[in-house]
């Protein structure tokens, strides 16, 4: 019975092609000469987006670590959860930029992957801050490589993207790095002779509590 139905449905499908329900509007053609980004620049931007996503996941793992009952550093946890959200926002900003330039019309799904973060525990606040700092240095280095790829193209120097990355992204990277470096040295000095108490007080300071 089922197979008869199937055959019947098949015949219907062949005989009545005009009755197929169309659920979407047909694509339209728009001039493309305004879409000017070059391949190596585009690819390095795509890699950068994946890198920001990876950083967001690593920061999530840091937030999780400092939230543990046996670690109990809510100030650090908050710092790193906020950093995770910031990295996600960086990825979104880069995506917005590509969209503005006429990109991401058909190769969106392969843009990013969610892979578990590589590291899940740190000896203490200092180690985590130093890890964060070296992660940010890697991101900065990678942004510089995107800039190079977008600037050195002999046929098309992508001035605007280079300016955007230099002005917005590098600016934020350098400020963020300075902030992490400052926090790491203050904490290290605090912990010189008063390890446990130093980290406790610093953690509360991060929460905005004056102990």
């Amino acid at each position: 019975m089922n197979s008869i139905l199937l055959v019947f449905a098949g015949i219907l499908a062949v005989c009545l092609p005009a009755s197929a329900t169309q659920c979407n509007v047909n694509p339209v053609q728009i001039p493309k000469d305004w879409i000017t980004m070059h391949r190596s620049c585009r690819n390095s931007m795509r890699q950068q987006i994946q890198m920001e996503v990876g950083a967001s996941l690593q920061y999530l793992a840091m937030g999780a670590h400092f939230s543990k009952d046996v670690v109990n550093r809510p100030g650090f946890a908050q710092l790193f959860f906020d950093a995770a959200s910031e990295e996600r926002e960086h990825a979104m900003k880069l995506i917005e930029y590509l969209l503005m330039r006429g990109e991401l019309t058909n190769d969106v799904s392969s843009l990013l992957q969610v892979r578990p973060p590589t590291r899940s525990s740190w000896k203490g606040g200092v180690e985590a801050l130093e890890h964060a700092l070296s992660m940010e240095s890697d991101v900065t280095k990678s942004i510089r490589n995107v800039i190079k790829a977008c600037e050195d193209d002999s046929e098309f120097n992508d001035y605007h993207l280079v300016d955007y990355l230099t002005g917005d992204f590098l600016e934020e990277q350098y400020k963020g790095q300075r902030d992490l470096a400052g926090k790491a040295s203050t904490l290290k000095k605090l912990m010189d002779r008063h390890e446990a108490l130093g980290e406790f007080i610093f953690d509360k300071k991060l929460l905005g509590i004056d102990v």
Binding site: C23, L57, S67, K68, S85, M92, S109, L111
Partner: protein, 231 residues
């Protein structure tokens, strides 16, 4: 004396009673012993039988992971609807909002995992077999709404599953704290979202077939404008 306390606490552990005094016993045992460290292994946030029986603890980790993955899936859809060809700002806004919500829930669940004395495991899979691979963002409007509706149901049914595990009538599995966390933070909101998305697909369904399909392109434009104003 210390040996006696140790013997008593071991006996308590063997009989499986949920002794409330174990951290206190650790303190009593370890303080005063010549050593410069305190282990106090039972001074932690674990209570009930969270993490030692059943799969509620691992399911909660997997639930955080699921939100994380869906959050980035939704972000891709938001991006796709904002390219110059699709140019549906309303649909993009809808997916951006779903992505933001899934992201903040990810952080919230991770915090809850640690609230119960556990650690977060980003590799944890659920025992509920609904995992799908490779998200596709390049969908037309109705397909995208359908995918969103399915995804919200996936999140909702996973919450039901964990809730069921947490409310099984057994001394070892019953965890009302997790049950109430799911009810408070997820379950009501899921019903709301699923109903809204189902309503959207009903509207689009009518537009697509109305007037022999001639309304389609204008309907999608108007519906996108509607989403821009209401999401």
């Amino acid at each position: 004396m210390k040996m006696l306390i140790l013997a008593v606490s071991c006996l308590l552990a063997i009989t499986g009673s949920l002794a409330a005094d174990t951290c206190y016993n650790d303190v009593a045992l370890d303080c005063g012993i010549t050593s410069n460290s305190l282990a106090l292994p039972r001074c932690n946030a674990v209570y009930g039988e969270y993490g030692s029986h059943g799969n509620v603890a691992t399911e909660l980790q997997a639930y955080a992971k699921l939100h994380l993955e869906r959050s980035y899936d939704y972000l891709l859809s938001a991006a796709y609807f904002n390219n110059y060809q699709t140019n549906r700002a309303g649909f993009s806004k809808l997916f951006k909002k779903l992505s933001d919500e899934a992201w903040s829930k990810t952080i919230d669940i991770i915090k809850h995992v640690t609230k119960r004395g556990d650690k977060m495991n980003f590799d944890q899979h659920s025992t509920m077999k609904t995992e799908r691979k490779n998200y596709t963002a390049e969908n037309h409007e109705l397909e995208a709404l359908a995918k969103a509706l399915d995804t919200q149901k996936e999140l909702a049914e996973r919450a039901f599953y964990i809730h069921r595990e947490a409310t099984r009538n057994s001394q070892h599995l019953h965890d009302p704290e997790i049950a109430q966390y799911l009810e408070e933070e997820f379950i009501e909101d899921h019903a709301e979202k699923i109903r809204t998305l189902a309503g959207h697909t009903s509207d689009l369904k009518k537009f697509i077939t109305a007037n022999n399909g001639h309304d389609l392109s204008l309907a999608l434009y108007v519906f996108d404008e509607y989403l821009q104003k209401t999401v």
